[in-house]
Assembly symmetry: C2
Homo-oligomer: 344 residues x 2
DNA sequence: TTTTGTTGTGGAAGGGCTTTCAAGAACTTA
DNA sequence: TAAGTTCTTGAAAGCCCTTCCACAACAAAA
């Protein structure tokens, strides 16, 4: 049986209340008793019992994170950011990986009420109204990462700004005929990136050729997949005799498919066509992709801070923060001649 | 305030004990009362309070997993296996990603005593004696995955068998002059894979040319890195005028480095040199690597089952299970002509 | 000296559950 | 019908903590 505060109280000849006060750094304890208690606690190698504490305090010092497994590298980095901050703040992390929105809802409906966690982080998954309502009703702190909802604090990436930087990079390199390959337009980021692209082109007085703009009809991963990228590029090659000199692709994973399609047609990157994409997943460096990097670690970190702020400060107004992705120049845009493809 | 068993008891006009018994499927309750309680519980949308339960039962239905972040893809897959099994069994998972053994020990020393988890899973990290002692003393169920210790249940991969399959695949393809590039020999898998390789060569009456066998002196990731692979291959190229016709590389990530070095020298894979490696990380398919796949998902799954068995059945003897990796034939071994490199 | 005010302290209550215990209800059996 | 069993049930105790309340001890003010 583990050591309890009763053991300490007996040994130190004080009351359990005093022991608890000492352990919680309450100021109203004499230095003498404090030392006495502390030394006994150390001698007995006391550790507070997490559940008893949680029960009494009505606080568990635990957060849950719901992350889709399929986000892969994003998953790990963001998790790393979240986890390390959490540890430094004395919290634990219950993680729940899911593969779909349905799975998330199922999990939430079961776990939410158990009072096991003080707050929740949801990554990349769109919030359904029913879930949103439940969080609101139960007043459980919730932070959204890489997804948004008007009623909750969220952390996301500025797609418009990212696209602007990417596209202007291409423009500054002298490209005028620029195409875009995006994912399934039902997905919010796919749509935003396309709209952003058109805006930038217009702002720079460049004409938009609709034949150079393709979206995907695939539903698996909303078209953010290698296959989708491959198909889109194939299609562009079929439909056109003349090609753009540069293409902005809405994700790295699609860009890898695009590269494969181009290679099949012996079209050299970046010589014949330059490429810039979005995400900077782990694969990107191996393929030499010039891309827009999302500060994943930072996002995890900030998510935790926001969540804890919400917990410790229930009145906090919801705040949505936006990160600007940064341009990572590698081989596919042609600016960096030292960068061979696939890269070293 | 949440609904408690007291609310149910009052509403259903029974005692709290009865409510608890119904909720825990105790047989000694009449069908009549059972239904009554159940219907009230449903009506009030009751959810048991996890901490109160844990406190009373002295069981938390929670496992903690300690996984090094740097294992990347392994991390995700194995986690997925663990997590999904856990959910199906009604357990929660506290995960703790670490970057080193020191970090792991620090975390353990703090968290172990809190009685927060019923058992622990440790992945890929070698157990120090002090930590081992602590687990033993406190009698906390522990399962080791991808690492071993004589006193604990573990799940690992049969390196010898994996190497045998890989190397004999090369031999069956007609190769006789086979080299090996391994990682830092301080790491157990690196060493085992090398020893295994030599055994297989001998068993097949093939001569081992020491000039074709390289290990890495790098310490970062124990030499399981792209850079290490690149360096090793460079070195082999420098030292030899004649090269082996096939190389077994101790990990995929190194193989990617090897590929880069070979490309620089215009040596074609698999035409001039065939390659087989180990792990089947996510990258592998994009590089068309023929490799030995570890059943990561399965390992996570089994780890959980073993841990829970240990928890629910404290007398269980420790059992160590070994998985045999399976050969994934892609482009780099030359057997699969349809597989271009980098692959489609 | 008495009164008022501080400060430190012990212990009960409470958090929500499981489990034990004793007693009442419902059955047997003679 | 009485005595003896067996079931079912309500309520108390216990899990380990935090926090509130009341009181003791002492210092300062009257």
């Amino acid at each position: 049986m583990a050591v309890t505060i009763y053991d300490i109280a007996r040994e130190a000849k004080v009351g359990i209340g005093t022991v608890s006060r000492v352990l919680n750094n309450s100021p109203k304890v004499t230095d003498g008793t404090r030392e006495k208690v502390l030394s006994v606690a150390k001698k007995l190698n006391y550790q507070p019992h997490a559940f008893a504490q949680a029960l009494a305090r009505k606080r568990s010092n635990t957060l849950s994170a719901i992350i889709p497994f399929f986000t892969n590298y994003f998953f790990i980095e963001v998790l790393q950011g979240a986890q390390e901050t959490l540890v430094s703040l004395g919290y634990d992390l219950i993680i729940h990986g899911v593969n779909s929105r349905e799975q998330m809802e199922e999990y939430l409906s079961k776990s939410l009420k158990k009072g096991r966690v003080d707050g929740t982080l949801i990554f990349s998954l769109e919030l359904s109204d029913s879930v949103a309502k439940e969080f609101l009703e139960k007043n459980i702190p919730l932070v959204l990462v890489d997804t948004q909802h008007p009623k909750f604090t969220s952390i996301s990436v500025d797609n418009f700004e990212g696209v602007r930087i990417a596209t202007e990079h291409l423009i500054n390199l002298g490209h005028k005929k620029i195409g875009m390959i995006t994912a399934n337009l039902k997905s919010v980021p796919a749509k935003e990136r396309l709209i952003g692209f058109k805006q930038v082109m217009q702002k720079n007085n460049l004409s938009i050729n609709d034949r150079f703009i393709l979206s995907s009809s695939q539903t698996k991963n909303d078209g953010f997949s290698r296959e989708a990228g491959y198909e889109s590029m194939k299609q562009m090659l079929q439909q056109n005799s003349e090609l753009p000199t540069a293409i902005f692709v809405s994700s790295d994973i699609q860009a890898i498919g695009v590269l494969a399609a181009l290679r099949e047609h012996n079209i050299s990157v970046p010589h014949d066509i330059a490429l810039v994409s979005f995400d900077d997943i782990e694969l990107s460096k191996y393929f030499g992709l010039t891309t827009m990097r999302q500060p994943m670690y930072k996002m995890g970190e900030l998510a935790v801070h926001k969540a804890i702020q919400l917990i410790e400060n229930p009145g906090t107004v919801l705040s949505s923060e936006t990160f600007t992705p940064s341009l990572i120049v590698r081989g596919t845009c042609g600016q960096n001649p030292a960068y061979s493809f696939p890269s070293n």
